[in-house]
């Protein structure tokens, strides 16, 4: 894998083909779980983990899978991996597992995982596929984190609340009370807030893209 390939894959994952902002895949967990930063980050990382292992697995067996049963095979692989992760989380980070709840098994049906398996991993070498999955997962996590941060900040004026669910009681000191004595803007935490915040994020992303294009246009002189 060359550096250039690596760069292209990462650019696609983080911005150009970003799962959350451009492809709009996997919105169900994206919207439901991004109430706080910690939740968002956890689900994002879990999804990334599933994606990386699923893509790697799919890519390694891609030559043995006939075209007509590729979807069942991919779903089988993904479902198995998700169940494994579900069990592991249940065993080792139980409080967080309780919060993320049904959204962990739901990763199975997260279109972004299957989409990458089918669109990329089934056509590329394992290393590329894993890198692509990580890039995509990171892109999704990024969006989730920003969304979670926005909603948590606007909704309850804190950041990193619930960190104790992951790192134990003593990590509670890391919770940032950004706006002390904040009234709380409930809408941000409720489902409609998720849609509005995601809409704003997508708008910002498009705006930034359009601006970059305009700059590029202005920079290259028109051929005579």
């Amino acid at each position: 894998m060359t550096l250039q390939e690596f760069n292209t894959i990462f650019q696609n994952g983080l911005s150009k083909q970003n799962a959350g902002l451009v492809q709009l895949l996997g919105l169900c967990p994206l919207l439901a779980i991004s109430t706080t930063l910690v939740n968002a980050l956890s689900l994002g990382l879990a999804t990334m983990l599933v994606m990386a292992s699923a893509s790697g697995a799919v890519s390694s067996v891609r030559h043995f899978v006939p075209h007509e049963i590729r979807i069942p095979v991919f779903v089988l692989i993904i479902a198995a991996l998700v169940t494994v992760i579900d069990l592991l989380m249940n065993a080792f980070v139980h409080p967080l597992y309780l919060v993320l709840g049904i959204f962990i098994p739901l990763i199975t049906t997260n279109c972004i995982v299957l989409a990458r398996a089918d669109a990329f991993a089934s056509k590329n070498r394992p290393l590329h596929s894993v890198v692509d999955a990580i890039a995509m997962g990171l892109g999704l996590t990024m969006v989730l984190v920003v969304l979670g941060g926005m909603r948590e900040l606007a909704g309850q004026g804190t950041l990193l609340s619930g960190i104790d669910l992951v790192f134990g009681e003593e990590s509670k000191q890391f919770v940032l009370h950004v706006l002390p004595d904040y009234q709380g803007f409930l809408l941000a935490i409720l489902p409609p807030g998720a849609f509005i915040a995601l809409g704003l994020l997508i708008a910002a992303h498009n705006w930034q893209k359009a601006r970059a294009e305009r700059r590029l246009h202005a920079a290259t002189p028109m051929p005579a």
């Binding site: 709380g184 803007f185 409930l186 809408l187 941000a188 409720l190 409609p192 509005i196 809409g199």
Partner: protein, 344 residues
């Protein structure tokens, strides 16, 4: 420049100005009931709306003058202000107005493009986000010692007041009282003996509803609104509430009580009739209004928030494209259904 070359005199500005004028009787009764505080609320909402409108127009590259003078932003501001509790804190007014103008109106494309009624979006955002503040209504005239003066109102709105003081002034709105009473297993008749209730609706509140009705009839007389939406809306309320009341008068409020709440009259004549977010075909307007009325009663009876008018109208806003598509009227020269020739 193509034909036609002459125009009727009516303009958007005129239409909006009449809507504002028709709100005046309601505002007058409001002042009589709750004191002049509403004037501060209206002014604050108007100023916020105009500032937000101007800023958004500038950002979107539209000229400010024709759009600021169309008065649509002020209509939104007034409708929202009249839906808020009297003496609502200033930040509540500003937040709601900003949301109405910036998100509900301009992010959807500005005048004529908003699929939801902006004032109701502002209201919904506030009730969802700040349910406590949004349900603190001071008691109307006859139930409090004396209405607050303008200066006192200003200090309440801007200064904020201690919880205890507010608790002393506020009381449950008639709808709230009914709901609370029902949850405590009282019957409707028992609840209706509380002092907050008047002849038909809440004491004082029913006069406010009457004033809105008056303004609405004025708009109808001027042909600024059509008869279909308000009539269907009120019919929806009356029939739905009447059905439930008939079914079990002990557990469901009387239709007149529901009809004579200010929110219903304001909603029927000023909000559901908003042309931009409402249905456009004659039959569609009937469906739209009736649906909104029905949903209002459903939400009032079983929903999680005290009033349902705003949510009902927003929900019906959503279904407008469908309603319009399904209720396309017969055009000139098109066979009426009964005239249609049987298929050969």
């Amino acid at each position: 420049m193509p034909s036609p070359f002459i125009l009727d005199r009516t303009s958007v500005t005129q239409v909006m100005a009449w809507v504002l004028a028709a709100l005046l009787p309601g505002i007058a009764v409001y002042v009589w009931l709750f004191g002049p505080g509403i004037l501060i609320t209206l002014t604050l909402a108007t100023a916020t709306a105009l500032a937000a409108e101007a800023a958004m127009l500038k950002m979107r590259g539209y000229p400010a003058k024709p759009f600021l003078t169309d008065l649509s932003a002020i209509v939104t501001a007034w409708l929202l202000a009249l839906s808020l509790p009297a003496l609502a804190p200033w930040w509540l007014i500003v937040t709601g107005t900003l949301f109405a103008i910036v998100v509900a109106k301009h992010l959807y494309g500005g005048l004529g493009q908003n699929i939801f009624n902006p004032a109701m979006v502002g209201y919904a955002v506030l009730i969802v986000s700040f349910p406590v503040q949004m349900t603190q209504w001071p008691g109307p005239l006859s139930l409090t010692d004396a209405p607050l003066t303008l200066a006192q109102s200003a200090s309440v709105i801007f200064g904020g007041i201690p919880q205890a003081t507010l608790d002393a002034v506020t009381m449950a709105t008639p709808l709230d009282a009914l709901r609370t009473g029902l949850l405590q297993q009282y019957t409707v008749d028992e609840i209706m003996t509380q002092p907050i209730f008047g002849y038909y609706g809440g004491i004082g509140f029913e006069w406010l509803a009457g004033a809105f009705l008056l303004g609405g009839l004025l708009l109808w007389a001027l042909r600024i609104i059509s008869w279909q939406v308000p009539l269907a809306f009120l019919a929806g309320i009356w029939l739905a509430a009447g059905f439930l009341h008939f079914f079990d008068a002990g557990r469901f409020g009387a239709p007149w009580f529901h009809l004579f709440s200010p929110a219903v009259m304001l909603g029927a004549f000023f909000i559901a009739t908003d042309p931009v977010s409402g249905a456009t075909t004659p039959r569609g307007k009937l469906v739209f209004g009736f649906g909104a009325g029905l949903l209002t009663i459903i939400i009032r009876t079983w929903g999680g928030y005290p009033d349902g008018v705003a949510f009902a109208i927003l929900l019906m806003n959503l279904s407008v494209p469908l309603i319009d598509a399904w209720t396309q009227p017969r055009i000139y020269g098109e066979a009426r259904r009964r005239d249609k020739e049987p298929p050969a």
